[in-house]
């Protein structure tokens, strides 16, 4: 099927939303934990989380337009601290449920547990096996549709030790970390292999 720009614009709205959301491929759902200055916690499910750099260690999160209340973004801008927590299979329903319109804290609502470290104001998710504490660095407004990219620096990592291999590779599959596609489809994964650093004239080799 070949769709032109005008074909895409003519698609029924929900059909187009589902289709376009799937094009970026598999993502991992991440729970972002924040706390307002008044102490009210918030937990939100985000899939547009990206690696920005290792030195300094930076991650990015893309937020929907700030035209309705966005507690996660507001708390980050207010307190400069947030946590990103990877979601594994046993947390799937609770993580998905955080995206409902709750009046109370999503921790209380879904039964996920707040965890605090002495260095960080924002709550981690106790159940997550890979917890990341971040400090806000900068934001960028995408003018084409008013989405907002937030960049943060990693200030703390709390990771189950057996997931880290000798060269630093983190076995997120062994943690049953979920893959997600589109708005609502969850998947688990099977490792095929790691491939060695690519060089010309030698086809890629398995790294074992």
């Amino acid at each position: 099927m070949q769709l032109s720009s005008s074909d895409i614009l003519k698609l029924e709205q929900r059909f187009r939303t589902n289709l376009i959301n799937c094009l970026s491929g598999f993502k991992t759902p991440h729970l972002i934990g924040t706390r307002s200055k008044l102490g009210i916690t918030n937990l939100g499910l985000f899939t547009q989380v990206m690696h920005v750099g290792a030195n300094p260690p930076l991650m990015g999160v893309l937020f929907r337009p700030h035209s309705v209340p966005r507690h996660t973004l507001e708390n980050i801008l207010e307190t400069k601290e947030y946590t990103i927590n990877l979601v594994h299979k046993a947390m799937m329903e609770q993580a998905h449920w955080t995206s409902a319109r709750w009046e109370k804290s999503e921790f209380e609502a879904t039964g996920l547990t707040e965890h605090y470290s002495s260095n960080h104001f924002a709550p981690f998710v106790a159940e997550s096996k890979i917890k990341i504490g971040l400090e806000f660095k900068e934001q960028h407004l995408i003018t084409a549709n008013k989405t907002i990219l937030v960049i943060g620096e990693i200030k703390e990592l709390i990771i189950e030790e057996e997931l880290i291999t000798s060269d630093g590779f983190l076995n997120i599959e062994a943690a049953n970390t979920l893959a997600m596609t589109g708005l609502d489809s969850y998947h688990d994964t099977n490792s095929i292999n790691r491939l060695a650093y690519a060089k010309p004239d030698i086809p890629p080799k398995r790294l074992d």
Copy 2:
């Protein structure tokens, strides 16, 4: 294991690079096809590809700092056109191989096939089952480490029709689309389920 900011900075460089690269979770490798004004094609493997919006249909790609030649980015800025092609299992070695330092076009080097549509200057990858033609819209420089976010608008979609379900959801798993973690680890996936739009006081239900 709990690592503070200073612990992270003390990690051996390659260990830190692997670890930090894994924290954003599963990604799908995407091949970006471009062509210079002189007609020289280029194909590069990118994992930091994101959904930015469905109306207008927008995608983002994060590029490493522009301090060494970056043919993909240069061609995009020069011609304003590029393609994003999802990578499935049968293309894994060739896609990974594009990341070697080739003197010639990565199409010629790896044996992947250029495909042209009448509407688009940049080459698609014939082997890909999900091909996206884009037009450059805007770029943002991340000041913290000089990476560059490029936003493009989708102008054309070429997709194997049986992958698209009745509500627009694209079954990228049925296409054997790869998931990737870190710099070099490839995975295939198994669907768990889709979950219905979340509402308070009703735990998430399977969407069948």
